[in-house]
Each structure stands twice: as C-alpha cells, then as structure tokens.
C-alpha cells in the first residue's frame, strides 16, 4: 500500500514538472532531477518485485500448510475408525425414536425402582367343598396318633382349614432387596382369616467366603422342598398330609438362625444347620407355666443335606436327607372335665428324606415337562410325665409316640400352559402311642389320593381344579372317608418372583 502511494506521489510530481514552462538552466537541472527520479523509480520497481516475490512464496507456503492440514483432518478418522464408529453408535443410539421426554420418565422410574425394595403380592383364593358333615377341618384334628386328643387342638386345626364355599386363602405381600453389599433381606406378610401377620422376615449374608451363608430371622425351615415353599408355589392346593399332621397348617416356620455351606464338590452338595426357638404347636411345643419347666431357647435343632448330581441339560434332580431334635411339652385333660390334669415334658425328633426331579421338555409353555417329587418323614415324641393330678404314681413314666408318612406326586404338562398331576399321600404306616400307664394304641393308616388339572394363562396367573379322596383312621378307632373339591385361582402382581429349584 505504502509503495503504491509513493509511486502515485512521484508520478504527480513528474507530471507537474513536465507540464510547467521551463528555462534552459532549468531544463538542465530538470534533466538531472529527472535522472535521479528515474533512478528512484527503478529502485522502487525492483523493491516491489522483491516484495511481491516474498509475498508469493509466503502465500505458497501457507497454501501448502493448509493443504497438509486439511489432508491431516481428512485422514484423522481413518487413523482410528473404531473410535469414530463408537461415536456414530452413540449418536444413533441418542437418535433412537424412544428417546425424548419418555427417557426422563423412565430414568426417574428406574431410579425410584432401584431405590425401593421389590414388591410383589400374591392372591390365593379358592372355592372348597367336601361331603362330610362338619368339614374335613374337624376330621384332621382327630386323625389317630397325630395331634393331641384335647379339645383346643381341634379348634386350632379347624381354624386353619378351608371353609365350605369361598375362601380367601392367603394374601401374601413380599418385600425384598439387597441391604448393602453384605446382606439381602425380605419379608412376607400374610393376610389370612382376618389376621395380618409376619410370615417370614429374613436377612441373609452374601459375602461369606468358602460357600458359607448365614440366614436369620423368622423363616420356613429349608429341610424339605414342600416345607420351604410358599403355598402359592405348590403343585397342589393343600399341604401333603404328613406335613399338615406333623407341623400344622404353617409348616415348620420358626424364629432362629441358619448356617449353610455349599461344599466345594464338583456336584451340588449343600449342608445346613438351623437353630430355632421351637414354637410349633404340633411337634415342638413350649408351654411352661406352673407345672412345666420353662426351657430357654433355642429349643430346636434341624440339620439337612441336599445333593444334586450333574445330569444333562433339561434334567434336574435334588435329593435331601434331614433330621431334627427339639424340646416338646404337652398337657392333657385325662378325665375330660375341662381342666388340664397332667403335664409332660421331653423331646421330639423327626428325620426323613425327600427328592425332586424335573424334566424340561423342548416344547413351549411347559408342554411335556415333568416334576416328580416325594418325601418320607418319621416323627418320634418321647415325653416324661412331670405332674399328674389324677394319678401321681405315673410321674416319671414316659409317653412315646412314633408316627411316619410320605407323599409322592407327579405333574405333567400335557398341553402348552396346561398341567395335570396326581398325588398319593399316606400317614401313619407306623402309628403307635405307648402311654405312661403301660398301655399302647396302634392307630391305623390314613391315605388320600388327589388329582389336579391347572391352567396358567401366563407366568403370573394360575387356575386349578383339584379333587381328593381321603380315607383317614381316627383316634377313636373309626375310619372316615370323604371327597374334596377345590377350585383355586392364584394371581401374582409386582416384582417377578423367580422361584428356586
């Protein structure tokens, strides 16, 4: 810019000079001046070309630089196409149609869900009928050898059996979650016959090494499959006869602690030991009071072992052995005048075995599947008379009761979502009571045959029809036979309750 201005000025001067009228001297001086000006112009021109050249080289250099830069930029994604692919994946994931305000909703929803325990409710209702006069609930309290002959036990048995007609059998609310990295916990609250009670309330460890686990609280004993399952998981409406007679309508449900160990064997071997308070009215009873010693807990020990061989896929088998011993007390009203007149204190024990086999057929919705399971249980009650108002001579003598029983059942999926099953129950194959007086009774054997068909529209609902024929030996020596009909509906809402084996 400066150069061009200077050239302009010079040329103006030149033009002015040449245009004015001049003398000879002036002309001589003018030519000199002209020569110097021409010189200056030449110099200027040379300077201009030099500078232009410098500019051009600079420009070329910059162009080269831009070119290499743009080349580099173009090459950059090729340097790591995996990185750019990841970017593209993230981009197209973000562009997915389901994003938008709903994503906010779902993330809020999942945040709420993740902070709260899993919640599930199972509603178990049924229509029940039988052809006895006063209901099977009354008969079950009179089965020979099981339960006490006294009247309050009958009432107790009756309260927990089904009424003829419609029954809200159980509404179960389940709440469960991981407590922290070290514990999980759950509780089930049951509503039944107008009472809302805590059925199970359990915490268990997740962090113990070497296959150990500790469980504490109130829980269903894990000694057998039927005992640890909740009623809505059963394949038949009602509890197997031997389980109902020995443990009552809740099964062996105790407050205590359990230590179990998964052995480091190449097959599944699980051993468990439970210590519990022993509050089962049928077998492990603690009455205390004026006439009986008040034993402090834990009054019951249960041990079990479960073993599963490694069968091919689709086949599953688990076999178990169990045994138990605990304190037991009874009171009796010998002359039936309405007041207790003798008291017994001692031990009860039970032992037995169970198994379950499952076959998962390669068809949809359970078609062709099999579940076969069974259990044998033997119970012995050994009590000493600690007080007797009617016959004090019997104090110190013993009452011994031996009872056993088993069930075996099979369930088969005959159509998608449809299953049918048969169950055979027997109780009292051994069934003798040896009294303190030296007398003894040998009660008969009770048996029951059940058939069921169920339909599961989905994993969360099930409709079941069951009929049973029972022929039971009562304590008075008579037998009573009857038919039962059950129509059951079970629905589950809330968290997906995945069931164990």
């Amino acid at each position: 810019m400066g150069i061009s201005i200077r050239i302009l000025l010079l040329s103006i001067v030149l033009v002015c000079l040449s245009a004015s009228p001049l003398t000879a001297e002036e002309k001589g001086a003018q030519t000199d001046a002209l020569a110097t000006i021409q010189e200056q112009i030449r110099e200027l021109k040379e300077q201009m070309t030099r500078e232009r050249r410098a500019y051009e080289t600079k420009l070329q250099e910059m162009e080269r630089r831009v070119e290499t830069l743009s080349k580099k930029m173009a090459e950059k994604p090729e340097a790591d196409p995996e990185k750019s692919l990841e970017g593209d994946i993230a981009q197209s994931t973000a562009d997915a149609p389901s994003s938008g305000p709903e994503t906010v909703w779902s993330s809020v929803g999942s945040a709420i869900q993740s902070m709260n325990p899993e919640i599930a409710v199972s509603i178990d209702t049924l229509y029940y009928n039988d052809n006895t006069e006063n209901g099977v609930g009354e008969i079950i309290g009179q089965v020979g050898g099981f339960g006490h002959a006294d009247s309050h036990e009958e009432d107790h048995g009756h309260a927990h059996y089904f009424d003829k007609g419609f029954n809200l059998r159980l509404v179960e609310l389940y709440l469960g979650a991981a407590v922290d990295p070290y514990f999980t916990a759950y509780t089930t609250l049951g509503y039944h016959n107008g009472i809302f009670e805590v059925e199970e309330a359990v915490f268990q460890t997740t962090c113990l090494p070497a296959g150990f686990q500790v469980k504490g609280g109130k829980f269903l004993s894990d000694f057998s499959r039927i005992n640890r399952q909740h009623p809505h998981e059963w394949d038949f409406v009602d509890r197997p006869l031997i389980s109902a007679l020995v443990f009552g309508s809740h099964g062996l449900l105790e407050t205590g602690a359990q230590l179990s160990w998964l052995a480091p064997t190449p097959f599944h071997l699980l051993l468990g030991l439970e210590a519990a308070q022993g509050d089962n009215e049928n077998t492990f009873n603690n009455i205390g009071g004026d006439h009986l010693p008040d034993h402090s807990g834990p009054r019951l020990l249960v041990g079990w072992l479960k073993c599963s061989p490694n069968l091919p896929n689709r086949h599953g088998l688990q076999m178990g052995l169990f045994g138990s011993s605990g304190k037991n007390q009874e009171t009796d009203d010998g002359n039936e005048d309405g007041t207790e007149d003798h008291w017994l204190d001692g031990n009860s024990s039970f032992w037995g075995a169970d198994f379950v086999y499952k076959y998962d057929a390669p068809k949809e919705h359970g078609q062709g599947d099999w579940i076969v399971q069974g259990e044998y249980l033997y119970r012995r009650i050994d009590l000493d008379v600690v007080g007797h108002d009617l016959n004090p001579a019997l104090v110190g003598r013993s009452l011994v009761k031996n009872q056993d029983g088993f069930y075996i059942q099979g369930v088969y999926g005959f159509l998608p979502r449809w299953r049918s099953g048969l169950r055979w129950d027997m109780a009292g194959l051994t069934n003798e009571d040896r009294y303190p007086t030296g007398n003894w009774d040998d009660f008969g054997t009770s048996c029951r045959f059940s058939g069921m068909v169920d339909f599961s529209p989905s994993e969360f609902s099930r409709l079941r029809f069951q009929t049973s024929y029972g022929d039971w030996a009562l304590a008075d020596g008579n037998r009573e036979d009857f038919w039962q009909v059950f129509v059951q509906a079970i629905v589950n809402i809330g968290a997906h309750g995945a069931h164990g084996f």
């Binding site: 593209d88 779902s106 599944h268 599953g316 068809k363 989905s458 969360f460």
Partner: protein, 362 residues
C-alpha cells in the same frame, strides 16, 4: 515303653500331616489355570470364546436349543457359576426368570449384580423397542429395558465383544495383549462376513459400519470406481446377500427377530403371538393370515422351540414358507460359533425370500 509308643505314633503321623498340609496348600495356591467364564446363553459363550482365546474356558447355562426366557436354575448350574471367574449375561431382563436364584445359590460374591466379575453384555449395545412410557403385564412379556435379542445384529455382537474384552483385560491384565488381539481378529472376520472380504479389507470394517449407520453406505459404494480393481467390487457378505430383499415383508412368531430385520431392512408385518409370550389364538391367527395374503408375505420365521402348527397352518393358507431358524449358537449341530449362526440365518432367510410362492394362492 509308653514314650516309645507315642514316638512311633508321631513318626507315623508326621508324614500324614505333612501330606495333608501339602494338599491343602496346593489346593488353595493360585494355579496358572485358564479363566473360567460362564455365560447365560451360547451366543455370549461363543463371543467370549473368540475373545478369551486360549486363556479362557467357557461354558453356558442354556444350550442353544433351549428358550433362554424359561430356564430352570438347577443346582448343577449353581455349581458352574460358583466356580466361575466371570459371569456374562445377555441382560435386558432376558434372564430375569432364573438368574436371581442361580447367582444367590452360587455363593460367589464377585459374580453378583454389581460385582467385578459380573458382566452385563448389553450395557453398550444398540437397543431396540425400548418402551416409551409405562409397561404393564397386560402387554404380555414386554421387557422394560427393550427387546433383549440384540445379538442378532452383528454390530451388537461386535460391541458385546468389546465389552467382554475390556472386562477380561481388567480381571486378567497379564493377558490383555492377547485379548485385544483376539478382539481385532473377531471384528475382522465378522466384518469380512458382513460386507465381503474385498470391501472390508480395503476400507476397513469400522468405516463401513459407520457409513451403514449413517445411511451413506449405498452412496459410498456407488461412488467407487468400477474398474474391477481389488476392493472396489460390489457389496458382498451378509449385507450383499440380503440386499435384494430390502423392504420385503415377513411374519415372525415371537418378537425375537427385530434386530436382524432392522439391520437387513426387512419389514415385520405381523407376529404370530398376539402379545409377547402369549400363544396364538385362533382369531389372531386368522387376522395374521389375512395380513399375509394382503401383503403377499413369503416367509414366516420362527425359533425351533415354539409350536410350529399355527405357522404351518398360516403357510398352507397363503403359500408362504415356514423358516425354522435357530436363534442361538448350538441351535443346530453345525452352528458352532457366532459367524456360522449368522451365516445360517442369512442362508435360510434369503433362500426363503428368493423362492417364488410354492403354490399360487392369492
């Protein structure tokens, strides 16, 4: 005399004690054993096997013939998971019916959800059918996190392989180099099959995937000089073979195929199940048949473990073909790894779509 006896006893006892202690020590001391990886399905097992290479022993809970939605968590499965160094699940609630009791029963703290050796292979994949809004069970088996059959999109297999490699590098850093090398090899062979060897070699699989994702692959291929030089040939591989069928309408039994149909541009016009997990009812089936007739659907695609009668009925009424296609590695004897799974799927589906109607029914 008594002293002598006790010394004799201890002489006998010492070797026994030493032998016992030695056994204990060898039992507990870490051995240079391969990493034990247990996966929920065979597909994840196949990918893990490719990535872990000789450093891993891989097993899976489901066989390829079983429906992974409905697996019974057996005690023997718990033993497998107990001994695992890494648990890999498909995720997105596919295993929700059985994973909980399995991991609880295994008593292996590290493989529990959130543990260092628990890998959810879905964490980085591209999800489809993520429900927008509230999900209720009245909709059937809808997975709130989206359709979990994502491995049928080869790109997701590629992503899952990366997640697996990353996790393996973290838990076994001394073999990290090998895992990365195996990952590159797996990606390379997958990209060869997807796009054809020539294209994938010249331009790199990742670049082709990027172009495909952005919808620019067709234009890119058109722009290539058709001079017959290596690498400039037409689209090959699975994508090339499925290209003639883009936009074709098909019917599926269960909504398992969305990732495949989405990747290869097929259109699922109807499902045999009225709702996910609910078997076909007669009225729904007749609606499906009407749709098939109207849209001239050539193929009904279904997994081997569903009842094929409804599909056969629909096929016989419309002239369409029923394609019983394994969804998982091991679903047929010759499907031994991920690439043969996809090979087979492309084979079966393209074959069904290219044949003319078997009977000319309207």
């Amino acid at each position: 005399m008594k002293m002598d006896k006790s010394i004799g006893c201890s002489r006998l006892l010492w070797p026994v004690v030493i032998a016992f202690m030695a056994t204990c020590l060898t039992w507990t001391s870490p051995r240079a054993e391969p990493i034990k990886i247990i996966t929920s399905t065979t597909d994840m097992a196949a990918i893990a096997r490719a990535v872990a290479g000789r450093h891993g022993v891989v097993g899976s809970i489901c066989s390829g013939e079983e429906d992974p939605h409905f697996i019974q968590a057996k005690p023997s499965h718990m033993v497998m998971v107990r001994d695992a160094d890494l648990w890999i699940r498909v995720g997105m609630d596919l295993e929700i019916g059985w994973e909980g009791p399995l991991l609880d029963g295994a008593r292996n703290m590290d493989i529990r959800v959130g543990g260092a050796r628990h890998l959810d292979a879905s964490e980085k994949v591209m999800r489809l059918e993520v429900p927008a809004g509230r999900v209720t069970r009245a909709m059937g088996d809808v997975h709130p996190q989206g359709n979990p059959h994502y491995w049928l999109d080869p790109l997701n297999a590629r992503i899952a392989a990366k997640s697996i490699a990353n996790r393996l590098c973290r838990i076994e850093p001394k073999h990290a180099g090998d895992f990365r090398k195996n990952l590159v090899l797996f990606r390379e062979s997958l990209d060869f099959r997807m796009f054809g060897k020539g294209l994938a070699t010249k331009y790199g699989g990742a670049r082709l995937w990027s172009l495909l994702l952005k919808g620019e692959l067709d234009n890119f291929l058109k722009g290539l000089p058709k001079d017959g030089s290596p690498g400039n040939e037409n689209l090959g591989g699975w994508l090339g073979r499925m290209k003639p069928f883009r936009g074709q309408k098909i019917v599926v039994y269960h909504g398992s195929w969305i990732y495949f149909t989405n990747r290869f541009d097929l259109v699922v016009i109807a499902e045999m199940e009225p709702k996910p997990g609910i078997p076909p009812s007669p009225s729904h089936l007749s609606r499906v048949i009407e749709t098939m007739k109207a849209e001239r659907v050539k193929a009904v695609i279904m997994e081997p473990y569903y009842n094929r009668k409804p599909a056969d009925l629909a096929a016989s009424r419309t002239g369409a073909r029923v394609v019983i296609c394994p969804l998982s590695v091991g679903g047929a004897p010759h499907i031994k790894d991920y690439l043969t799974l996809m090979d087979n799927m492309v084979d079966q589906i393209s074959e069904a779509l290219q044949t003319e109607f078997s009977q000319n029914k309207p």
